[in-house]
């Protein structure tokens, strides 16, 4: 929650790294998903053209999103869907609650929606006395554990089956110590089936909204969005406005890319197109801004709004894999989360663009060709200029620029540095110096290159021979 003190990414990552075996397991698990993505992508000869096409469609959307939104709303209304607009998280939560209140319903079943995580909807509804059950298995697990999801596609990827077994034993009364995923999944299926059959309101996210037809598309593997929506009287679908695409035929491009990029599947099990409510039932769509229109105005960062939330950038990221999703303290973690989060709150999320090696792997796997690592680099410059970096780093950078700009100071600094590292290493090799974290420094040379060159260059030797 926002009131809690944020633990910075580097500190959270350091804690995550204390359990070496578990970090290695986390790293390998996500790399395995990345490899599945590669295998799947390589089976499509047109893969790069497909990415380029998706990127161009999304560029078109961003350049014309005003008109597409107007078109979408008109068509959705024609289809009998009720459309709401929310400027921020607060208004989004209030709208959802008002729909619940209108129908006098106190319970909701929810399928995956990162937007509702972003808006902290569950906490808001809990305060209003409304019970929310997350029905995606991964989200259900983390909800029972009172944790946020650690990954947008694989919410419980940070947990081992032993953890899930314990959680289910406590909450669902499963056999203690039974860690069989089949058994655990079956237990959740039985419990959630009862939930689906008894809830009058179902909330889902939206993967794509089509301007041309006013329909929305929701993708799941489990079928939980459909079980909720088709059994409830009221279906509420929440979407950031950037989910729009122009025409139905463009789904062909995005549905080919989404699951292959996410998990390596050729498509999700269900790609459900909701166009009209069932007779006598309601579909509500809540279109949310919450900072997106601001990001649209930041030329360097607007491309982040092309994201289709596949999670490929997380699976490939060497920092994400070895720090875990929770270290990003944002609903969307990883590289894409790190360029979305500073837009939501610059000072709270100033650490995130630095949680990257800028290796560029994220950019290479992104199905809509977002220049993720370039944007991370650009955010760093914005954050430093606006004074959002830690004082220690600012002082260090200023000192460094003075030293590097003046040859005399540089010379003295080099000499004293070598002296200290050699004779009083404790002065630099200590907990205060981040450079020594998990690093051994090389042996200190007798002289600097400059000193060596003075003695050994052709001119110096010629002088000696004179």
């Amino acid at each position: 929650m926002s009131s809690e003190k944020i633990i910075e990414h580097s500190e959270a990552a350091a804690r995550f790294n204390k359990d070496v075996e578990r970090v290695n397991w986390h790293d390998e698990t996500l790399w395995f998903v990345r490899e599945k993505r590669d295998k799947s992508a390589h089976q499509i000869p047109d893969w790069e053209l497909l990415r380029e096409t998706a990127s161009k469609i999304k560029n078109n959307v961003l350049s014309n999103i005003h008109d597409y939104l107007v078109e979408f709303e008109a068509n959705a209304q024609k289809n009998g869907i009720i459309v709401h607009w929310a400027a921020d998280a607060k208004e989004h939560n209030e709208i959802v609650h008002s729909i619940m209140a209108k129908h006098d319903v106190k319970q909701m079943v929810k399928s995956k929606s990162m937007l509702t995580e972003e808006c902290h909807l569950n906490d808001y509804l809990a305060e209003k006395g409304i019970e929310v059950i997350d029905s995606d298995l991964g989200e259900y697990i983390v909800q029972l554990r009172k944790e946020p999801p650690s990954h947008i596609v694989l919410p419980a990827i940070h947990l081992k089956k032993e953890d899930v077994s314990e959680t289910f034993h406590e909450h669902l009364g499963t056999e203690k110590g039974n860690i069989d995923p089949q058994y655990l999944t079956e237990s959740a299926r039985l419990s959630l089936r009862n939930t689906f059959l008894t809830r009058k309101v179902a909330l889902t996210g939206v993967n794509f909204a089509i301007a041309e037809t006013g329909e929305i598309v929701v993708c799941t593997n489990e079928g939980n969005a459909d079980m909720g929506a088709h059994l409830a009287d009221v279906h509420i679908a929440c979407m950031g406005f950037e989910k729009l695409i122009p025409q139905r035929k463009h789904l062909g491009v995005f549905l080919r890319l989404l699951a292959r990029s996410a998990t390596g599947q050729p498509i999700t099990t269900f790609s459900s197109h909701f166009k009209k409510p069932r007779e006598g039932k309601e579909i509500h769509i809540v279109i949310v801004d919450n900072g997106r229109s601001t990001q649209l105005g930041r030329e360097d960062f607007r491309n982040s709004l092309k994201c289709i939330r596949c999670g490929a950038c997380m699976n490939t990221c060497p920092v994400y894999r070895r720090s875990g999703g929770h270290s990003y303290h944002n609903a969307v973690a990883g590289p894409i989360g790190s360029i979305l989060a500073p837009n939501l709150d610059m000072s709270k999320n100033a650490d995130l663009p630095f949680a990257s090696t800028l290796c560029g792997s994220c950019t290479n796997v992104c199905p809509v060709k977002i220049d993720i690592h370039d944007q991370l680099y650009k955010w760093r410059q914005v954050l430093v200029k606006e004074g959002h970096t830690p004082t220690a780093k600012t002082i260090a950078m200023k000192t460094m620029s003075t030293v590097l700009a003046n040859p005399t100071i540089f010379n003295i600094a080099g000499k004293s540095g070598r002296f200290v590292m050699k004779n009083i290493p404790g002065l630099v090799n200590n907990k205060m110096n981040k450079w020594y974290d998990q690093r051994e420094m090389p042996e200190v040379p007798e002289e600097s290159f400059r000193e060596w060159y003075k003695k050994n260059s052709r001119e110096a030797k010629a002088k000696d021979n004179e």
């Binding site: 350049s63 298995l137 593997n221 079980m227 789904l251 999700t268 197109h273 105005g297």
Partner: protein
């Protein structure tokens, strides 16, 4: 000013000045010399079972052999009335919770991902392919398309209230990436490929 106007105004102000062109989707290839073979391979890879049949009698025989007819079987296909009930489409959808097997038809299938396109006129009830313990879908072999691009060409401006692509049985890998079939929806999917 209400939120809608405020959001739209800000978007108009902040969106790029020049509208960029939409790309040509025809550049994307849909070539596949053997769509049926691809379809079957992909379906097996994602946990579904392809069964080739010549006619409805073979489908009936298959179901009689492989499913318990004492349990509740439903369908929307009159040819299957001997083994499954047709009289449920106007019931409360919750009453379908005890369905063992649901047999429906698809408009077409897609070879590259084995997905089948169904809309509410084929479903009887929207929840029917999700709530049944097992699902069987019939598709004509001649209706297997190569790619999703062809799929959306075929869908065109088709009118529906609800439509979905179904690819394989419901599944999850949320517990340590171990694949489990039958998350919330069908535990198994048979695709009858009809001559």
């Amino acid at each position: 000013m209400n939120s809608k106007e405020a959001i739209l105004n800000k978007i108009k102000q902040n969106q790029p000045a020049v509208v960029t062109n939409l790309p040509d989707l025809n550049l994307l290839s849909s070539e596949n010399p053997d769509v049926l073979a691809t379809y079957k391979t992909v379906l097996k890879n994602i946990g579904g079972d392809p069964v080739e049949v010549a006619n409805y009698d073979e489908i009936i025989d298959y179901i009689k052999t492989n499913y318990n007819l004492q349990k509740r079987l439903i369908t929307t296909i009159p040819e299957l009335s001997e083994i499954a009930s047709l009289n449920w489409t106007n019931d409360d959808p919750h009453s379908l919770q005890d369905v063992e097997l649901n047999v429906i038809k698809a408009h077409f299938g897609v070879a590259e991902n084995s997905a089948l396109w169904v809309t509410d006129d084929l479903l009887g009830q929207r929840v029917s392919p999700f709530i049944a313990q097992y699902l069987a879908i019939i598709v004509h072999k001649k209706d297997i398309l190569a790619s999703m691009h062809q799929a959306y060409e075929r869908i065109g401006n088709q009118e529906y209230g609800f439509g979905t692509f179904i690819a394989g049985p419901s599944k999850t890998a949320d517990i340590e990436q171990s694949l489990v079939l039958g998350a919330h929806g069908a535990r198994g999917l048979i695709v009858f490929l009809l001559d």
